[in-house]
């Protein structure tokens, strides 16, 4: 250090210079009264920040910090519990709505009788079933075709009686 450098002096005061630069500043200080005065002012400023008992943490304040962390932890656990409960409730509600919406609706056909309403998809599935004649043509067992024919006839009789 050959010339006055206040920033370097500040770093010197903090002991943050490499050894060579530190030695250079020490040498400069021996001959420069201005920098020596600057350094004395830096030291006086630092002394102003020395710990003061009135700024220390009190036992009550420390206790309140412990309690605040405890409470925050408890709230965190409670939030997780609430979130899981809310999720479970949502699944239940969605499940209940789904069951109500997509289950087979029933209607009263008469006193003491409950019949299921045939859904459109179910009708389509039924109509896609091959007729006994088609089953014969497809070479299926005569017994199976006969049973199917009997079933069809029975259904026809039931429909007419209704």
């Amino acid at each position: 250090m050959t010339e006055c450098d206040d920033q370097l002096l500040s770093a010197f005061h903090d002991g943050e210079l490499p050894p060579a630069a530190q030695a250079g500043v020490e040498l400069h200080l021996m001959t420069c009264s201005r920098c020596a005065a600057q350094l004395a002012e830096l030291q006086a400023t630092s002394r102003l920040f020395e710990p003061r008992p009135d700024r220390d943490l009190t036992a009550d304040e420390l206790q309140r910090i412990h309690t605040a962390v405890e409470d925050a932890n408890a709230q965190h656990v409670w939030r997780i519990f609430t979130a899981i409960t809310a999720l479970a409730a949502s699944v239940l509600i969605i499940g209940a709505v789904w069951l109500a919406e997509f289950s087979v609706p029933v209607q009263q056909a008469g006193e003491g009788t409950v019949t299921a309403v045939v859904e459109p998809w179910e009708t389509v599935a039924t109509t896609l079933r091959p007729t006994p004649a088609e089953m014969f043509e497809q070479g299926q067992e005569p017994a199976t075709a006969k049973a199917t024919l009997d079933e069809w006839m029975l259904q026809g009789i039931l429909q007419e009686s209704n």
Binding site: D6, Q7, S10, A11, D14, E16, E41, L42, A44, T45, S46, R47, L48, F49, P51, R52, R55, D56, L57, E61, L62, R64, I65, H66, T67, A68, V69, E70, D71, A72, N73, A74, H76
Partner: protein, 204 residues
């Protein structure tokens, strides 16, 4: 109350830790693994030093206490993210400075300019000065509250002065806390000191 039972258990754990020589790193590892007593031991170990920083960054003692609580709650919640690249002391200081910056931004519209009644103070202590006695630094400290001068500085200057002068962090540690290069720490600290001294007036 379940909290009381839990807290007494933790207190016992803290007392147990106090009797052992456990490093900060071990306490952090234990706390991360779910040992709340280890975290409370960390509070005991670092709260005093942090409070001095908080007192320098906040205008009122209650604000400093709030800062402390927010800091340790934030540390507790973010403990799993602590990567051990810096010391726990530096990491806690970093959280505190961030909380202080947040608090400052929250209150910036409500803050009132502080005034230092130096003239009034000087008139009450003019006797010894007129007699030409040398005023030691300690009497200067009593006459003017350093904290009030700090509050007059920009947040950046207040922060860096506090980290160096109050917390005693090295330049490298300050660089890690405020996330700037080491060269910036050196130049900003120099300017902060110059600003502080100009507001403080002559010390002798």
């Amino acid at each position: 109350m379940p909290r009381c039972r839990n807290y007494s258990l933790q207190l016992a754990r803290v007392m147990e830790i106090r009797t052992l020589e456990v490093s900060d790193a071990d306490l952090v590892r234990a706390a991360t693994a779910g040992d709340d007593g280890a975290f409370h031991a960390l509070i005991d170990r670092h709260a005093t030093g942090l409070m001095r920083v908080a007192m320098s960054m906040a205008h009122r003692r209650e604000d400093a206490e709030d800062l402390m609580q927010e800091t340790f709650i934030g540390a507790y919640r973010g403990l799993k993210n602590f990567e051990h690249r810096s010391s726990i002391r530096t990491w806690l200081t970093q959280i505190l400075t961030r909380q202080a910056a947040k608090a400052w931004h929250r209150s910036r519209h409500h803050r009132k300019a502080l005034s230092i009644h130096r003239g009034d103070e000087e008139s009450t202590t003019s006797g010894p000065l007129e007699m030409g006695t040398t005023r030691p630094a300690r009497s200067m400290e009593q006459r003017l509250d350093v904290n009030e001068v700090l509050q007059q500085l920009s947040p950046q200057f207040r922060e860096i002065l506090t980290l160096r002068e109050v917390r005693g962090l090295s330049y490298d540690e300050i660089a890690a806390v405020i996330n700037v290069p080491r060269g910036t720490v050196e130049s900003r600290l120099f300017r902060a000191r110059a600003e502080f001294r100009s507001k403080m007036g002559p010390l002798e």
